[in-house]
């Protein structure tokens, strides 16, 4: 496939927090329709990498391309890496959908208002259109009857499905999932994974950080194993899960598949 089919590409991302180098030059590329799964021990940098993609963390160096557009980074007077163009950051972020571990729904708004908020105020869609679309999305994730409810009155699984609907409402080119089921009670994990699987089957481009190894194996087109801020191993899920090449990856999978 040519470069026109690349949905998202990051090259040589480096990021340090103080003296701790969390990402030591990581590159990824997702073609349209790919589901890229990042796995690795906690502290391996997978969440930081995902957060670098939409600049919730600013990488110290490296390149980020969404489609063919490169996110421009520059350095401020103190020598820190900063976005060159704030408007470009907003624009790029509005083309990426982010789902957080802790949902982060706006608690003072109803579920419907949560889903309509960004389409109406960022994309400037007419309210009616935004509402119709929001209701369709809530229908899709199975919580349409909760549209008028506040987030605090929903279960964790329902809140996370609402958060997915909120991200989908921007009609994003790539969905980013940051451990979407890690904050959920075990019995609620299934309902969220079901929604994500449905999105994968519809051919959405997604980057997923998860500890759900069985799920990663089912939905991924590529699995990337990170270790201490570097890509230790990458490949198709079958190859990674059947015959991991690196010792560390083997150990990690053995520990996680056992449970």
């Amino acid at each position: 496939m040519g470069p026109a089919d690349t949905a998202l590409r990051v090259e040589n991302i480096r990021k340090s927090f103080g003296n701790l180098e969390v990402l030591k030059g990581v590159s990824l590329a997702a073609e349209k329709g790919d589901v890229l799964t990042l796995i690795g021990a906690s502290g391996s940098g997978k969440s930081t990498l995902l957060r670098c993609v939409n600049l919730l963390e600013i990488p110290d160096s490296g390149h980020i391309f969404l489609g063919t557009e490169e996110l421009k980074l520059t350095r401020n007077r103190a020598g820190h890496s900063v976005p060159a163009d704030r408007h470009q950051v907003d624009r790029i972020r509005s083309r990426l959908g982010m789902v957080f571990q802790s949902f982060n729904l706006w608690t003072h708004m109803t579920i419907l208002q949560n889903v309509m908020e960004a389409p109406v105020h960022v994309l400037k869609k007419p309210r009616r259109e935004a509402e119709e679309q929001a209701m369709a999305l809530l229908e899709k994730v199975g919580i349409a009857e909760k549209a008028a409810t506040y987030p605090a009155h929903l279960s964790g699984g329902q809140q996370q499905r609402a958060a997915i609907a909120r991200a989908l409402a921007m009609d994003p080119e790539v969905m980013l999932f940051d451990e979407p089921t890690s904050a959920l009670d075990p019995e609620l994990v299934g309902e969220v994974l079901r929604v994500i699987r449905q999105l994968a089957e519809e051919g959405r481009t997604m980057i997923l950080v998860t500890h759900e190894m069985g799920f990663a194996r089912e939905v991924s087109s590529e699995v990337v194993f990170l270790h201490e801020g570097q890509v230790e191993e990458r490949g198709t899920p079958d190859r990674i899960f059947e015959s991991p090449q690196s010792e560390r990856c083997r150990k990690f999978l053995a520990a996680h598949l056992r449970s």
Partner: protein, 247 residues
């Protein structure tokens, strides 16, 4: 106790109450208009914005309201020529204007501090979620941060409104005939200290209760998302809702 005197004085006292309420409402409204930019400036990373706001808040929270009132009302006279040149003297010679200006600046400083605290208390994850949707700058403040901050500030802010309402009694010292001012003049005429001040106190009390009632209603409306009884109902309803999953 001379109850007849209280009854006879009631129309005058209520007249005074009218002025008290007028000054309170005007100062609260204008104070809020001052407080929002002051709080935002106070939180700005730019020292040229942050330090003036800091100084303003520091001064008005750190000095007695009565001193501020004297400074603006009597102190204004000292700068008569300068104020005249600016065309402001006509305002500064009015006790009413000076009272509203002082109370506005005073409550503005306190409210700015309340707002600053509640802006900082807005959950970080919700702000991040808004950024991830492409919101930033004023849009982010207008749609997410300020609406949340106002809600968080409500209980502390109701205190500030009550405080300001009672602090308006100080304006009687600069010749205004507010509720306290009227009470003072009646007492000076009749020497019925107990009757009149108790009557004035009860009127203040009734109004304070009214203010608290309004805030309670407002909290109930704006904090609906945190009301526990609905949450309990929602939990009861949560189980059947699980069946509505996509297949």
């Amino acid at each position: 106790m001379n109850l007849q005197l209280v009854v006879d004085s009631l129309p005058q006292l209520l007249d005074g109450l009218g002025l008290t309420l007028q000054i309170t409402i005007l100062s609260i409204f204008l104070g809020l208009v001052v407080a929002v930019p002051a709080a935002l400036m106070r939180l700005s990373p730019n020292p040229l914005l942050r330090w003036p706001a800091h100084g303003y808040i520091f001064y008005f929270r750190g000095t007695p309201l009565l001193v501020q009132l004297f400074l603006i009302y009597y102190g204004g006279g000292q700068f008569r020529e300068e104020l005249d040149a600016l065309g402001l003297w006509t305002y500064f010679r009015e006790a009413y204007f000076c009272a509203v200006l002082t109370l506005t600046l005073n409550t503005g400083a306190y409210t700015a501090e309340i707002l600053r605290g509640s802006i900082q208390a807005v959950p970080h994850g919700e702000v991040e979620a808004a950024r991830a949707c492409g919101m930033s700058g004023w849009l982010l403040y207008r749609r997410i941060i300020l609406p949340k901050a106002f809600r968080l500030a409500l209980p502390a802010y109701s205190n500030e409104v009550i405080f300001l309402f009672q602090a308006t009694s100080l304006v009687s010292i600069i010749t205004l005939l507010d509720l306290t001012g009227v009470a003072r003049s009646i007492v000076a005429r009749t020497f019925a200290v107990y009757e009149i001040y108790i009557a004035a106190g009860l009127i203040y009390l009734a109004c304070s209760y009214g203010i608290l009632f309004v805030f309670k209603r407002m909290e109930k409306r704006l904090m609906a998302h945190l009301r526990p009884e609905e949450r309990r109902q929602a939990q009861k309803a949560a189980d059947p809702a699980q069946e509505n999953l996509p297949v």
